[in-house]
Amino acid sequence: MKSLIKCGVKLVDSPTNKESRHSWSLKQKLFFGLTPGQYFGQALRNPFNWILGIIFAIGLPLIAYRYLFGLGVVTHASNDYPWGLFLGFGLFAMVPLSASGFMLGTTVEIFGRHDFEPIERLALLNGLLGYFFAVVYLLVDLGQPWRLPYPMVVSFGPAAVLFLVAWHVATYLSVQVAEVSVAFFEWIGWLGGNRFVRRIAIGLTIAGIILSTLHQGALGALFNYAPGKVHPLWYSASFQWIHFFCSSIPAGLCMVIAVSTIVKKTMSWRCDRNFLDNLDRCTLGLAKGASLALITYLAIKLIGVAHDNEWGYLATGWGAWFMAEIGFGVILPIILFAYAIHHRKVGLARLGAFITVFGIVLNRLNTALITFNWQLYQEIPHVFEVLITITVFAIYIVVYRFILYRLPILYVWKEQPQEALAAEAVKTNTITTAPSPAGALYRRID
């Protein structure tokens, strides 16, 4: 890509081609300014695409195999471990990693920290895609995925925690679609939709906070149904939902740091100055938030152990594993973040973020799979289960990249001059009334 840009390729980042003065067609937008030849050429030259190709060549037939012959052929069909890797990783780990949407939404929209705006859209998209693919994992795992809407329309089990998760994830997914749709409306050129969404931005954000608090917690509360099955160190009768909710905060923040790091390394051509110049500052800001949340999380985890008087378990093998998880996944990142923030070492903060992401994933896998049925036996997922999980994650990466290449997530969409003028007019007209988010958008243009 870099060589193409050096050769003078103009990327789509505004409604019109500056040289020809013509609006970009949808096809041109889809190829983000490249000719089809250039587009497929760069795609084929990218070695990461070869890896993806191999994964899909193996994984897509396996997914078809799962749908044609049932879950039994790709999993161990365990009645003792009804939730395997699809939910253990796909749902329980993807959802906390996607808490970024509501975290940055809160920071920017509610607390008015508009200095985090350059990274807000990436966080919102990360949230949307994470949730969407958690649902995709769910569709792979459900016995009868075509009945997914049943808890909404056919039969209600409103006293069940999963009912709450289903409703909240569904509504929150809608909220996130609305939040991210701003970028899509800009790209497609429909400013009416854009203005409308911005008008309800505060409402959407608060809805996001409520829904996130509850379903992030509810995912933890799901394990309250299995008090004898989850190991006591990973189980807390009173605090399970708070543990899950609290740990989702560093998980979401660190996932944004992790993704932005990858973006900066692999697709900086798509980022504008605004993003690249602010990224280090934002990263350190997010790292501060994450380290505070991690310290809180560490504290309530220890309170959980103390509350149920589980100190004795720490001396067992499970206790060593518990301390390894906390030590590597929580305490080490706290130290890294502290050092990084104090010495303004962004690279170290990024390392801390990757470790935190790993630590949270490990925590969820520990709760759902590794320490589950600790008194019975250990289930090792079927190799096909692992391959399908990797394949769905690869699809997630492809979709993520597809959107980042095109929509104004990493760059600011440059409006047309006459619309900018109109915006100026709007700005002067509304100067006495409450400032609208739409006004904010237009001021970013110049």
């Binding site: 508009h114 705006e117 089990g157 409103p158 409703w167 809608s174 006004g439």
Partner: protein, 318 residues
């Protein structure tokens, strides 16, 4: 999702929140004191009487029209089968709603046979965990399941403290949960005992009203000193079960969790369910308040990126 108007889905999400609020409170109130229907039936399993003939397995297979077994039902070699490196004995699954296992307790020189099936809890974990309400505790005492609405999330299998529900993983297009339903459709609701009880040559299974079975169980313990441990497993455990056990040896020696607690599983979740309406009620005002407070100092005028890029600004974030 993205097709509908935002106003409509906002309305929908409010409705959803309202629904969960009401449901949450209703559950917390309703489930507080439920301990089974007074006239509910049950079965008392007397492990001192069971000889491991497996007739109950055969009767269940026939009554519930389950697939033919791999070994004949009078084949005793299944008692030697172990799974997962010898850590597990047979368990009920999609092909068998009940199994009999043999134990060699440390405190006895005789083997003890234990029949395993759904215990039909008074306040079942499977029922309370199901988000499509596929389970019903009938007034006769059975916990039955409606496969027509089951989505296949398998939360009931996570929740069941007895490891009972099995899933027909082998089915691609109609996988369902498979478990003992107390022969509810074919027998129980017609006043007949379940097939396993009827076939048992030893009357190891005593069928009757749950409250009568408790009397009978206590009577057996009293009139046969030394024969039983002084406990009817299922009388109080996990909120009480319709199927209960008498054992000649401590229950931990025959595969039971000796200390499952007397709370039904749903009690573990009530803390969280109770916070749901609180979050729904408090968060909007709280965060709207935060927003107003933040805006007063910051305001929309000062939020351009350029304005925020002052060096000193980074020190006091969060």
């Amino acid at each position: 999702m993205s097709g509908i108007s935002r106003r409509r889905f906002l309305a929908a999400s409010v409705a959803g929140c309202a629904a969960t609020t009401l449901a949450g409170t209703k559950k917390a109130l309703a489930s507080g004191s439920f301990s089974g229907y007074p006239e509910g039936m049950g079965v008392l399993v007397d492990l001192t009487r069971c000889v491991g003939c497996r007739s109950c397995e055969a009767a269940c297979n026939k009554e519930q029209q389950l697939p033919a077994p791999e070994l004949p039902f009078d084949d005793k070699s299944v008692f030697d089968q172990t799974f997962h490196d010898g850590k597990q004995l047979r368990r009920p699954d999609e092909n068998a709603y009940t199994v009999v296992n043999r134990y060699q307790p440390a405190s006895s020189d005789q083997p003890v046979y234990r029949k395993v099936q759904c215990n039909h809890c008074s306040e079942p974990a499977c029922l309370t965990s199901c988000f499509v309400n596929a389970y019903t505790k009938t007034k006769e005492g059975a916990v039955i399941y409606n496969s027509k609405v089951c989505v296949g999330c398998r939360n009931c299998m996570i929740a069941c403290p007895f490891h009972i529900p099995g899933y027909s993983y082998s089915s691609a297009f109609d996988p369902v949960v498979k478990k003992c339903i107390f022969c509810h459709e074919t027998r129980l609701k017609n006043g007949l005992p379940p097939a396993c009880v009827e076939i048992c040559p030893q009357e190891a299974l005593t069928f009757g009203k749950r409250k009568e079975l408790l009397k009978i169980g206590n009577n057996r313990i009293q009139t046969h000193p030394g024969r039983y441990v002084n406990r009817i497993y299922g009388e109080k455990e996990l909120g009480g079960t319709s199927w209960m056990y008498l054992s000649p040896v401590p229950f931990s020696e025959v595969g039971f969790d000796p200390n499952p607690g007397n709370d039904p599983i749903i009690n573990q979740v009530k803390d969280f369910l109770g916070t749901v309406p609180m979050v729904l009620a408090i968060w909007p005002a709280m965060f709207a308040g935060f927003h107003l407070l933040a805006k007063k100092h910051d305001g929309h005028e000062g939020h351009d990126q350029t304005a925020d890029k002052t060096p000193g600004d980074e020190g006091d974030e969060q």
